[in-house]
């Protein structure tokens, strides 16, 4: 046990050195801001790893929570750019409104907007989750409902062009809490915030996974009925994982806005929501670091390939879904574990498990 936590500490130290010490000096400003974008996507992946990898909740609607966090932050930044009492530029442009809509007003206050980026997604997840899990709607039903939520949210945002910017979304931000976003120094600052938050979320996810709650979550994934008969309420266990994942996605969305400079419906609908999942699947859904590395790798491959060969990228993405999920359900993390096990045989014979559906456990 002690050696494990020592290894985890060392792992975090290496991660911190890479993110804070190496990347800012090795990469150009442009590459660094791209990395900040990937790291934001990786935050969503940490949450999906928890909910799907550990809890078996295939959530195909993380874009909704990402979007709620992103729009909350973007609305605040728009209002801050416009100045007190003024309307954001796009509302004046469309000219449909005489005054700021009531639900925009509280976001002018950072003391409301900042917590809202996390709490709003968590609230929505809590409402949907408690309705759905308590009635034992699960498995594929839950996946489809979460996907329908993403579709509904994107359609709603597009339909309300006057107040949400419609298809264009919210973009063209000047300042981030008084700092000029055009200044490369401030872009670096945003990157550092993103990297720090990602490490924090990883620490939270690790603690959750290794706690008694984490054990319970895996138990619910593998045999919900048995957990119920042991006296726990599986609905609550799932709800915690779902709400946590939603909060992480909301935070990711909130940081995505200053890092990338845009939030729009195309970033939160069905397709981006399911793209969050593929990174997690590639990296290894049940491991801690797998989702992060998978998400960064897939996002990087997407930017590199999709600009030059858009058709080839779509084929590759489709093949990734098919091959990884069908034939390597544990993702790359299971390959790493397999190699490690081959190099040094375990002291005691591994217990025979009847159906290794997903990579059973990750202890690092």
């Amino acid at each position: 046990m002690r050696s494990l936590s020592w290894r985890a500490g060392a792992g975090f130290a290496v991660g911190a050195v890479l993110l804070f010490g190496v990347a800012p000096f090795a990469l150009s400003d442009f590459r660094l801001s791209l990395l900040a974008k990937y790291l934001c996507l990786a935050m969503v992946a940490v949450g999906i790893g928890l909910a799907w990898g550990r809890g078996g909740l295939l959530t195909l609607g993380q874009g909704v929570f990402f979007g709620l966090g992103g729009y909350a932050m973007a609305m605040h930044m728009k209002l801050a750019d416009a100045g007190p009492g003024e309307m954001p530029d796009f509302m004046q442009l469309y000219g449909q409104l005489d005054a700021l809509p009531w639900w925009w007003r509280p976001f002018a206050n950072p003391a409301f907007a900042l917590p809202a980026t996390v709490l709003l997604p968590m609230l929505v997840a809590f409402l949907l989750g408690s309705l759905v899990f308590r009635r034992r709607v699960r498995g594929a039903y839950f996946a489809i409902l979460s996907q329908a939520l993403a579709a509904a949210m994107a359609i709603l945002l597009i339909g309300q062009q006057g107040t949400t910017g419609g298809t264009n979304g919210l973009t063209d931000f000047q300042g981030f809490f008084g700092y000029d976003l055009d200044d490369p120094v401030n872009q670096r600052m945003v990157y550092f915030i993103v990297a720090g938050v990602l490490l924090l979320l990883l620490a939270i996810a690790r603690q959750l996974m290794r706690s008694r709650y984490g054990e319970l979550l895996v138990a619910v994934r593998d045999s919900e009925e048995r957990v119920r008969f042991l006296g726990y309420n599986p609905a609550n266990v799932k709800l915690v994982a779902y709400v946590t994942a939603a909060g992480m996605a909301g935070l990711a969305g909130a940081l995505f806005v200053p890092a990338v400079g845009i939030i729009n419906p195309a970033l939160i609908g069905i397709v981006p929501s399911i793209e969050f999942v593929i990174g997690v699947a590639v990296g290894g859904r049940a491991s801690l670091l797998g989702p992060v590395l998978g998400a960064v790798a897939v996002a990087w491959a997407k930017t590199t390939l999709s600009e030059e060969f858009p058709a080839a990228w779509t084929y590759l993405q489709g093949l990734l879904f098919v091959l990884v999920v069908a034939f390597l359900p544990g993702g790359l993390a299971s390959v790493v574990r397999l190699l490690r096990r081959r190099r040094r045989p375990p002291p005691d014979p591994a217990p025979v498990s009847p159906a290794p559906v997903v990579a059973q456990e990750v202890t690092a």
Binding site: A140, L149, A151, A152, I155, L156, V357
Partner: protein
């Protein structure tokens, strides 16, 4: 009054389209528990069948008639291939099936883009289906909507007859109700699965033919309709066709009425909220298959 009646007709015709799309799903998802995200692309394949066929058969009426069985065959063959190559290996992992078939749907969409081009294409509708039937001055029913309604009802009746009276239907129901018992009774469950998938996917092809009457067709046409169709099957309940039929028409009507009083986007959200609320009341859908499993 006529406004309400004409909105109701719109709702019923939206429901008919939903039903045609959901009917195949209620077989593959409802009966077999397979979430096939590529179902939307089978619809697309059916629609492009009409497009290709019209290059050969110029008469719009004949091409439509030939397209119906041909699209069934094309989409059905794609479905069988998919089942044989991938889904067969994933029956124990329904959620993974969802992701794998999503990948397949991405590949099929890109294939369609490479073959037919990214922009939408238009097919010709037969003259007989372009007109309207005037009931009163305000109430006008369009022929193509009526045709789709008839097609949907025909498909429901045919499918019900097959499931209820044919030997294949008996086998399908047996496998749904108890796979192990069916297997020891000598039913080749693997082959029954494949045939079920053939019929379900073939119905997607037929739905694709119907969609060509309503508008242009394109590589992403399947994605736009598939979620609604899944919601229909979820709310309708597993293992029963009548659940899907009732829910499809109910949702169509609800959407058309909400749409009339607000906007399209609000209607979509309204439908979603209605389904979540409905599942509070009936978590397993409208009709459930009674089994001894804990639910």
């Amino acid at each position: 009054m006529t406004v309400i009646v004409s909105q109701l007709f719109t709702g019923v015709s939206i429901g008919a389209v939903l039903l045609l799309i959901a009917l195949g799903l209620s077989l593959t998802f409802g009966q077999m528990g397979v979430i096939n995200m590529a179902h939307g692309e089978f619809i697309m394949a059916g629609a492009y069948t009409v497009y290709v066929l019209q290059k050969v058969i110029t008469g719009a009426g004949w091409s439509l008639l030939v397209a119906l069985p041909l699209a069934f065959a094309v989409a059905g063959a794609m479905g069988v291939l998919l089942e044989f190559l991938l889904i067969r290996r994933l029956y124990a992992r329904p959620l993974d099936t969802l992701l794998v078939t999503w990948g397949v749907s991405l590949i099929l969409q890109q294939l369609a883009r490479d073959i037919f081009g990214a922009p939408n294409v238009q097919t010709r509708a037969p003259d007989a289906l372009t007109g309207n039937i005037k009931i009163t001055d305000d109430l006008v029913l369009s022929n193509n909507r009526l045709f789709i309604l008839a097609l949907a009802l025909l498909a429901v009746v045919a499918l019900t007859l097959v499931l209820r009276f044919s030997s294949l239907g008996r086998r399908i129901r047996a496998v749904v109700q108890n796979r192990d018992l069916a297997a020891v009774s000598g039913i080749p469950t693997g082959r029954v699965d494949r045939l079920t998938f053939l019929i379900g996917s073939g119905l997607a092809g037929v739905a694709g033919v119907a969609l060509t009457l309503l508008g242009p067709i394109g590589p992403t046409m399947g994605t736009n309709v598939i979620i609604d169709a899944f919601l229909v099957v979820v709310a309708g309940g597993i293992g029963h066709l009548k659940g899907s039929v009732i829910v499809a028409f109910a949702l169509g009507t609800l959407q058309s009425l909400v749409e009339y009083s607000t906007t399209v986007s609000v209607a979509k959200v309204g439908v979603f909220v209605a389904i979540v609320a409905f599942l509070q009341w009936r978590p397993q859908g409208l009709f459930t298959l009674r089994t001894r499993s804990l639910a």
